[in-house]
């Protein structure tokens, strides 16, 4: 009667620019030196994780017109560091967040195809759609989009990239030294794409890579984002790591797949999740409280409030009560370059709710931010954490988790050494890699270059906005 046990997928997120890394801890290392990335990746691979994940931001954040200086700032180039990591690992998938607004399909497709070759089939692309003019100031197109076009471009970008990936079928390189035939076909890689955002043609110059195409992730949370994921992504990087929110998101997104002729196992849902481990549950709780206070200084708490209030609140005391003025509802100008500000879609309601919660609990500004910003999904002894993760996955709150430690680069070590063996004992996590590619780890089919591009376009036609595939 009972369902078979789901196998858990686990990944490791090397935290980039962020406010959760406790950079002041004595054991905190560099977040930029390659040795940190190598240590992190080796730990993840030792623990048989599916992949390593990198986020991206293309302009340094500002608040109040100045570069934001309280968080970890700065990160390496995604493609370059992932490719270097391919040299120090053998199995670990390599997932990079690459924006579809500030790039061009030919170049991104080349880079992912190259990463997939150079890692023997371990590349994945988290397609994000940040669109703003603020970030656009770093790019030659001056490139930015109206918000409502971000997914229109993203869809066409992904469709175009897929056409490029599929423009080689995998059998073109003959390299017969005797006959002198290197290529089977002079037209290898030929493509034509005419659409609203891209009108390009020619020949793609990277032969088909081991996975054919990189695994596709999606990370937006809007209605359009969820449809985009349902139509064409292999996995979602979501923000819902609690049981109830996770289940709601899971049901919603998996329910969208049938419209695109897809089955629920073709789209994995993997929330970002933090964790704090202790010898006992009580010790972990105590440690978690400490970590939270380190993550949210008084100054940070005020800045965080400004994301919602969209006003300068520097005159407020972080240990005092919340402001009784209302948020400024105009265009968000105080904090720039942040995805978070878009989370608060109704700032007035958020402010009201926060004031009520703070008053009811006698919380200061800092207390409130610590409580509302608390993203520690898993706190407890290794046994508790292993059981909770397993329960969440079996209860369809997710298909696994992308773990974000608060210490770089050693924050994953204890998880690898203590929690992973318990998950393996439960029979819900691999003890050895069964395959070599990331698709193997995730249980995803390898795409067929000769049929898949057309199938994608058909699916996309349902939701419109896709560039038309002309011929090839």
């Amino acid at each position: 009667m009972s369902k078979p046990l789901k196998q858990i997928h686990l990944a490791a997120h090397f935290p980039g620019v962020n406010n959760t890394t406790v950079w002041s801890a004595p054991e905190a290392g560099s977040h930029i030196e390659f040795s940190s990335f190598a240590h992190f990746a080796r730990t993840a691979e030792r623990a048989k994780f599916d992949f390593l994940f990198l986020a991206e931001g293309l302009r340094l954040r500002e608040q109040g017109g100045k570069i934001y200086d309280l968080d970890v700032v700065g990160r390496p180039d995604t493609f370059t560091v992932l490719t270097a990591l391919a040299a120090v690992t053998q199995h670990l998938g390599l997932t990079g967040t690459i924006n579809s607004t500030f790039n061009e399909p030919y170049e991104v497709a080349r880079q992912f195809a190259s990463l997939d070759h150079l890692s023997d089939g371990r590349a994945a692309w988290n397609v994000v759609t940040s669109w703003d003019a603020f970030t656009g100031e770093n790019f030659r197109r001056g490139g930015f989009l109206p918000q409502d076009e971000r997914y229109s471009r993203a869809k066409e970008f992904l469709a175009t990239a897929n056409e490029l990936f599929d423009s080689w079928h995998g059998d073109e390189i003959i390299a017969d030294q005797d006959t002198g035939t290197f290529l089977r076909d002079a037209k290898a890689g030929a493509f034509v794409h005419q659409g609203r955002h891209f009108d390009i043609e020619g020949q793609f110059n990277v032969p088909r890579s081991p996975q054919g195409r990189p695994v596709i992730f999606q990370a937006g949370d809007s209605e359009e984002g969820r449809e985009f994921a349902a139509a064409g992504a292999d996995a979602i990087f979501s923000r819902y790591a609690t049981l109830k929110d996770g289940q709601a998101f899971y049901t919603d997104v998996k329910g969208r797949l049938a419209r695109y002729g897809r089955t629920p196992d073709q789209l994995l849902i993997l929330p970002a999740a933090t964790f704090v481990l202790g010898d006992t549950d009580a010790e972990a709780e105590e440690l978690a409280r400490e970590v939270r206070r380190q993550q949210v200084s008084g100054a940070t708490a005020i800045k965080h409030l400004e994301f919602v209030w969209n006003r300068d609140l520097s005159a407020y005391d972080p240990d005092g009560p919340l402001p009784d003025i209302d948020p400024d509802l105009g265009e968000h100008t105080v904090a720039r370059g942040r995805a978070q500000v878009r989370m608060y879609r109704d700032p007035l309601a958020t402010a009201r709710e926060w004031r009520e919660r703070a008053a009811a609990n006698n919380w200061s500004i800092r207390d409130l931010v610590i409580e509302t910003g608390n993203r520690q999904a898993f706190v407890g002894s290794p046994a508790t954490v292993a059981a909770t993760i397993d329960d969440f996955v079996q209860a369809d709150a997710s298909d696994g988790f992308i773990l974000v430690p608060h210490i770089t680069p050693g924050g994953l070590d204890a998880f690898a050494d203590t929690v992973v063996p318990l998950l393996q004992e439960r029979g819900v996590f691999r003890t050895e890699y069964e395959g070599t590619t990331l698709r193997d780890h995730l249980g995803l089919a390898h795409p067929d270059s000769r049929t898949s591009a057309d199938a994608d376009v058909d699916a996309a036609d349902d939701i419109g906005e896709r560039g038309e595939r002309v011929a090839s």
Partner: protein, 419 residues
């Protein structure tokens, strides 16, 4: 202070680099038994080549690249199937071999015409991190219409011949744009001061925002705000290089690079090129800054000169035409090549970028034949003397142009005094 004509970092040794491309620079190279044509798209192939170059103590390797299929035609695709076609992104190939090597410089080709200087700046900075200070870039432009069509953002006129006035106009504009591109990349590398990350627990500040700088570049083709998202790389400024054959590209070399690759056909020609570049350098106001000029040569090397010539003939027969190149083609023994290099060196070049005709054959001939020969003559290093590419090239770590602090002011003053 040194005077303009000797703006060459002085060295008792000549510098040696190798240009990696496919199976080698002869179009039939892939048909040699030592070639591994089915492995051109694997990491192992490139790792082996770079390891061999590092065993030979070479200064650096360059990786060729392009935004379209290789072609034997100067401006269009050629539709051929009998030569190597297709390649991996050069920056990523360099990144893949970086953790496997320790001393050798890694210099991928970057096409400036259709890419974003913001992306490239952080990519090369990251290559510098993953290689602990051994990154460079070789900047290239493209006037090919078919490559422009891969991006669809601009159209370029159809060009007929290399030397026509129309070609010159287009190319001059593309070179100006490329100079802007390099300027943006360099400003972004400096957009973080070296000590911008402060981790000041008392104030809760991770960075000192006064040490992060907007670059505010404005040019006719693009503008870029900055700062970079990647902190200043280990070398401060990774090494910038470009290939140049004529006055316009010499100007780019003189204005924007640390190394120019040139194609002298004899010693007088080398002397004339160096003089022209030094003059351009003076015009650009960079006369007192170190700028290397490397001679490019294609090489067929064998212990018996007749064997080298026979190999070239055999490959030419397979190709159906004699091999020609923009660079001088050398056929002979490592000792004969050593003679030639020393002679050209005396004309004011600081080193050479050799293009092996067949990588599987001529690269080991360089590392195991030419290098020991040059060492016997006291003209090449016997061990790596530095850990960074700038160090190997005798270039100091440049001060940050935006640096504000007292330490920075001192460093800037010292650098100016010794330049």
């Amino acid at each position: 202070m040194s005077s303009a004509p000797s703006a060459l970092p002085s060295s008792a040794h000549l510098h040696l680099a190798v240009a990696l491309d496919g199976a080698g620079w002869h179009p039939s190279a892939w048909r040699e038994p030592v070639a591994r044509p089915r492995e051109l798209f694997t990491a192992g192939y490139w790792a082996d080549l770079v390891a061999e170059a590092e065993r030979g103590l070479l200064d650096f390797v360059t990786f060729e690249d392009g935004l379209g299929l290789q072609s034997s035609h100067f401006i269009e695709p050629d539709g051929r199937t009998d030569q190597v076609r297709g390649r991996l992104d050069a920056v990523l190939v360099a990144a893949r071999v970086a953790p496997l090597t320790r001393h050798i410089g890694l210099v991928p080709t970057v096409v400036a015409t259709h890419t974003e200087p913001f992306h490239i700046s952080k990519a090369i900075a990251t290559l510098d991190y993953v290689s602990s200070g051994r990154a460079g870039l070789r900047v290239q432009l493209t006037a090919r219409q078919n490559e422009a069509a891969h991006f669809g953002r601009r159209t370029l006129p159809r060009l007929d011949a290399y030397d026509s006035p129309a070609t010159q106009d287009v190319v001059t504009e593309l070179f100006d744009e490329t100079a802007d591109y390099v300027e943006v990349v360099r400003r972004l590398w400096d957009s973080w001061e070296d000590d911008a990350e402060i981790r000041d627990v008392t104030t809760g500040r991770f960075v000192d925002r006064d040490k992060l700088h907007y670059i505010d570049f404005e040019g006719p083709r693009f503008s870029v705000k900055g700062p970079s998202i990647t902190p200043r790389p280990p070398q401060g400024q990774p090494v910038v290089s470009a290939l140049a054959h004529q006055t316009v590209p010499y100007r780019l070399v003189a204005r924007a690079t640390d190394i120019g690759y040139v194609t002298p056909h004899d010693t007088d020609h080398a002397r004339a090129i160096v003089a022209e570049i030094r003059a351009e350098q003076a015009l650009a106001g960079r006369a007192d800054q170190p700028l290397h000029v490397f001679g490019d040569l294609v090489v067929f090397l064998d212990d018996d000169p007749a064997a080298a010539a026979a190999r070239r003939d055999r490959l030419d027969a397979l190709a159906g035409e004699p091999f020609t190149s923009d660079a001088r083609v050398f056929t002979g023994t490592p000792a004969q090549l050593a003679d030639l290099l020393q002679e050209l060196w005396s004309a004011g070049l600081s080193g050479f970028r050799l293009r092996p005709a067949v990588l599987g054959h001529d690269l080991p001939a360089i590392t195991q034949g030419l290098v020991p020969e040059l060492q016997r003559r006291g003209a090449f290093r016997r061990a790596y003397e530095a850990d960074t590419l700038r160090g190997l090239l005798g270039l100091t770590r440049p001060p940050n142009r935006y640096a504000t602090g007292a330490a920075a002011a001192n460093a800037n003053a010292a650098a100016n005094a010794t330049a």
